[in-house]
């Protein structure tokens, strides 16, 4: 997994609440293997008009947002289906960080597992950021995961929270399966004890 330490990129505002993972990537693309670039599938149906042409008004279709790595989104971003392909689509389109007032829980976890940083901030701060991105000379946001801060183009800084375990896996680009297998003995002991206490759960009979 790609490590995430710092990021300095333009940012795009997506001011719509409850962007579900069906909108991030429609179901018909979910059979695509990970080895295929998922970037083309990102927001596939909502960034196009009825004739299938890219809608020039959609935020990620504008020339100034080409190559942007940061999305500043609204409440409940990534709600709905657990499809990890939603994160693949964001990641392959170059997005490395989504800042929003809240996230779907499964989407949040999936992001961490793929080197994409979800940052939760109060909605009033998000509203300020949208305003700053609209009015500042540039839309560059610096994200510093080690120090848990973001720096806005108008000089303002905001701290953010992330739990230490997830922070560590992101910074080190760590695959947690390797970490977990170091506890193999404890896992086996737990299973042995469980089989003695609750034998009906020990295997599928």
């Amino acid at each position: 997994m790609e490590a995430f330490k710092k990021l300095d990129s333009t940012a795009a505002s997506l001011q719509v609440a409850n962007i579900d993972t069906d909108q991030i990537i429609p179901a018909r693309f979910l059979k695509t293997p990970r080895s295929t670039n998922h970037g083309e599938f990102l927001f596939h149906d909502i960034r196009r008009d009825a004739s299938g042409e890219l809608d020039p008004n959609f935020i990620l279709n504008t020339p100034e947002n080409k190559g942007t790595q940061i999305l500043v989104a609204d409440t409940n971003f990534g709600c709905g289906s657990s499809r990890e392909s939603a994160v693949y689509a964001l990641f392959d389109a170059g997005i490395r960080c989504v800042i929003a007032p809240s996230f779907g829980d499964i989407f949040y976890n999936n992001s961490i597992k793929n080197g994409l940083l979800p940052i939760e901030l109060d909605r009033n701060i998000i509203e300020d950021i949208w305003q700053i991105l609209k009015t500042a000379n540039n839309t560059n946001i610096e994200v510093d995961l080690e120090n848990q801060t973001i720096h806005l183009p108008n000089g303002q800084n905001f701290d953010f929270q992330i739990d230490p375990f997830r922070k560590q896996t992101l910074i080190e680009g760590l695959d947690d399966i390797d970490l977990t297998l170091k506890y193999r003995q404890l896992i086996e002991d737990h299973e042995t004890n469980n089989a003695a206490e609750r034998p009906w759960t020990a295997t599928v009979y």
């Binding site: 179901a27 289906s81 976890n109 609750r198 034998p199 759960t201």
Partner: protein, 467 residues
Amino acid sequence: MPQTLFEKIWSRHVIVEREDGTCLLSIDRHLCHEGSFHAFDKLERENRVIRRPDLTIGIADHYVSTKAPELGNEEHELRVPIEKLTANTKKAGIQLYGIGTPEQGIVHVTGPEQGLTLPGIILVCGDSHTATHGALGCLAFGIGASEVAHVLATQTLWQEKPKTMRINIDGELATGVVAKDIILHLISVIGANGATGYMIEYAGSTVKNLSVEGRMTMCNMSIEAGGRAGMIAPDEKTFKYLKDRKHSPKNGNWDLAVTDWKTLFSDADAVFDKEVNIKASDIAPSLTWGNSPEEALPVTGKIPDPKNESDMSRREALEFTLQYMGLNPGTSLKDIEVDRVFIGSCTNSRIEDLRAAAEIARGRITQVPAIVVPGSAMIKKQAEDEGLAQIFIDAGFDWRATGCSMCVGMNGDLTPPGERCASTSNRNFKGRQGPGSRTHLMSPAMAAAAAIMGRITDIRELEPVDL
């Protein structure tokens, strides 16, 4: 120290607790469907071994054709994920309930039905509606592909302990009000992210009085309120439901298990991070009108007017939703005509759901195309034996084979662009049932009534028929 039901189950499964509170949990049961190919591919790339294949069960549901299931799907590209599931489970030595087996069905219907879901366990699946299983008193939640791979490789998961929320629903339900109406009402009250970060326990006399099937409908849509898991303390109804199921504990283990299961409830003075109280008498037959499950109203309601919304961004969002849904402010929900009807999905495809829909369909004729998709092969057979299938067929419904069907928009069953579907599924998202589809979520009886009348209908006002 008094504990919640959730804490009792959680603490049994902690293998390692880090200083920051993140826990390594043992996983008792893992269900996987066709979408798991991402996880199997990852393990293959990393040359990893599947640690406990005996604790995973494969079930084909998402890509299965409900018209020609024996082929998997008539379109070859839709058969590929089913073939991958067959190959991956075979190679790993994982039991598969594939197409044509008597156990096959929607993963969240089959799990409880086969006794794979048991009180007190932790059950996971790469699907957000895994909370369904919590209706039997277990901790069940949806995970992404990387976590599926982690479970396959280790039979564990790292999890941050969620906050707990108890939702108390008390009182008698009015005539025509069912579990689907309760959950739609609840989501409209607490919002689509009202339970984000929380583990929900549903409690109260109304929940106690629901059937196990009804409880599953409620827990199923926990994710639509943002809750990753929903659960209900097991009781005699739960035990009766599980007795003699294929994988339920047998012989001496059954008595041991029931003794243990009877300890699974929230202690009287257990403390929840949040409590919500709902009065059953406030709930009417309900449906959604927008593109978020929180946009639900009683069937007697009217489409809201953006002009009444003072927050500009919310007003714009509402205008956009009404444009997408092709609806005008102030329209009575009962005046909305539908183009087709879908009765099925892991929310509402169990025998009780089919009985409720058949009760409406009996002796009447559909006005619009309508399909009924049973939740499992077993339910299909039971419905045929009970005569329900014939009622549907006589009324003009299309009686299909089991699968996720028109809920997920990935197996050929789609609502065409611009068409309006009365659906018993769980998501009314833009494009969920197919690009440009317009979905109204409701109960099986309400959906059947919409098929008969060709429009949204209050089942309490349906004229009786001479049989």
